[in-house]
Amino acid sequence: MSLSFLILALLTLGGAVAAMTLHRLVHCVLALTVALAGLAGLYLNLGAQFVGLAQILVYVGAVAILIVFAVLLTRGAEIASQMDSSRQGRFSALAGGVATAAAVFAVLAWVVLHSPTLSAPAATMTQVAPQAAMQQIGDALMRRYVLPLEVMGLMLTAALIGAVILALEEKPEAQ
């Protein structure tokens, strides 16, 4: 475990905890952004340049801004987050959160334990250096996985058009 990993892990966890515990909604969003940026740092630390930078571009640049806009436009920013004050409500929320976290962790642990790289000898694992990784990712996306990519693009376009149609004000003469 290297020093950079420790710092990034602390940053990520700290951001996540702050996102859950802070009282003002905008503070929570900013703390969440710190956690997401820490995650991007962890990817970069592992040598996954593309994933790390895409994480920053998408999550810090777009998703955080989207959440912030949603918070501001729904006028929730000024009110301290209204938690369910009853004891039972809090308990059920906590139990639900813990159960979800445990389930996600179990699935991830199962995948990691069954992954072929773990059973391979350590020497080959260090061989998977991210040299020319961008080229490889591009090749994979444009050759082997081109159909899933296109389908995803189609889906996102459909979502975009759907959002525009929902937001569009209907003109009276159009009816």
């Binding site: 003002r24 905008v26 503070h27 900013l30 952004t33 340049q49 593309f50 930078l53 895409a54 920053i56 571009l57 810090v60 640049g61 777009a62 955080a64 801004i65 912030v68 806009f69 501001l72 920013a77 991210p130 040299q131 020319a132 990784a133 961008m134």
Partner: protein
């Protein structure tokens, strides 16, 4: 030394760095090496910022029939020094209702993000701080952080002008990021690499006396113009300075900042402008390569900074001549004109790549961009009368 003196001058900073790094033990060499690059960036670009503020005020003064700063030092050249001392001695006012922590962090985040972008810019041959495999992606990822800083500034000030400015800034930055990235995508396709060093290196050759710059192709020229328009909007420069339009919303998201924090916003804005111009130079204007083959004896870093200063001059020129846009004009321009044109530029770059060399591909690519440009312009103007402006009261 067997190298020609010209090459030595070209690589003088690289050699200087190697010479300095040679004095420290081998274990510390990587750290010292990157530290030296960082120090160079931290020293050079703020100095350029200081110089540009004088240049800009002088240039605007000339365009507006006045002198501009001319009291401090010869020709007013020491003006930034006076400005710096003034902003340092001013009181740092924080509004009572402001969110103190976020209010404090916003300018720091903005300046830090602006500085980070310089890491991948090749300012000369072998002179990029890091040669990232995904350099262009890194540049845009770091630029995205600045948007968040702008929001933090606007929201934490607890002032409606600040919040309005921040909302305008974010809406504008998100809208213009799309054509910005799409137009650079054309270059990435042509160069076959995301590394800024590689892209600059690809354009360093010559045919006859003409360089292989991407701007010297039909799609490259259109892409460069789109890129620079989007870059102007991305850095909130006039005519896209709605987020800080002083006649409408005081100073936008940094209304509630005073003293040195205000200066930091100023610094961040100019650093962003230099960085994005630097990326434009790297992508379209051949980076550090000379414009003609017989001028290659001038060191590569001089060419980079000459191009940078030329682009800054254009920015100042535009600020002095163009009026501010309206918000709906801004959005219509981004989504109805810039976006389709950027997509066309991308397709045209692909066609250029696969057509054989010759006059044919020039004609095809030119028509591919020029015809939609005219049609799109005509279409957007439909139902609008454009004529001499008439004033109701000011005749």
């Amino acid at each position: 030394m067997t190298q020609a003196p010209v090459q030595q001058l070209d690589q003088i900073f690289v050699m200087l760095k190697h010479w300095l790094v040679g004095y420290v033990p081998a274990a510390a060499q990587p750290v010292v090496s990157s530290l030296l690059s960082v120090v160079a960036i931290l020293a050079l670009f703020p100095a350029l910022f200081a110089f540009t503020t004088v240049l800009e005020r002088k240039g605007l003064g000339r365009m507006q029939n006045r002198y501009g700063p001319n009291r401090v030092g010869p020709f007013g050249l020491l003006q930034p020094l006076a400005d710096g001392i003034k902003s340092l001695t001013k009181e740092d006012v924080v509004p009572r209702t402001a969110d103190k922590a976020v209010h404090f962090m916003a300018p720091l985040l903005l300046v830090a993000a602006s500085f980070l972008a310089y890491a991948v810019l090749p300012v000369g041959r072998n002179m990029a701080a890091v040669n990232l495999d995904a350099g262009v992606l890194y540049f845009f990822a770091v630029g995205a952080v600045a948007e968040l800083a702008v929001f933090m500034a606007g929201w934490s000030s607890h002032n409606k002008y600040s919040l309005l400015g921040a909302m305008r800034a974010i809406a504008q930055m998100i809208s213009y990021e799309v054509p910005l990235i799409l137009s650079s995508l054309a270059v990435i396709m042509a160069a076959g690499s995301l590394s800024t060093v590689e892209i600059a290196g690809r354009q360093a050759g010559y045919s006859g006396i003409w360089p292989h710059w991407y701007v010297l192709t039909p799609w490259g020229l259109a892409g460069f113009l789109l890129f620079m328009i989007a870059a102007t909007a991305e850095t909130n420069r006039s005519p896209f300075d709605l987020p800080e339009g002083e006649s409408e919303i005081i100073a936008g998201y940094y209304t509630e900042y005073s003293g040195f924090k205000f200066a930091l916003f100023f610094l961040g804005e100019y650093l962003g402008m230099f960085a994005i111009s630097g990326l434009g130079i790297t992508l379209f204007l051949g980076g550090w390569s000379a414009p003609f083959s017989f001028l290659t004896w001038i060191p590569s870093w001089i060419w980079f900074f000459a191009k940078l200063l030329a682009l800054i001059a254009v920015f100042i020129w535009m600020r002095g001549t163009l009026p501010r846009l309206r918000m709906d004009q801004l959005m219509n321009f981004a989504w109805k004109f810039m976006l389709p044109m950027a997509l066309l530029v991308m397709v045209s770059a692909g066609v250029w790549r696969f057509l054989p060399h010759g006059v044919l591909r020039w004609i095809v690519c030119f028509v591919m961009i020029a015809v939609p440009y005219v049609l799109l312009g005509r279409g957007l103007l439909q139902g609008k009368k454009i004529g001499k402006r008439t004033y109701r009261f000011a005749e």
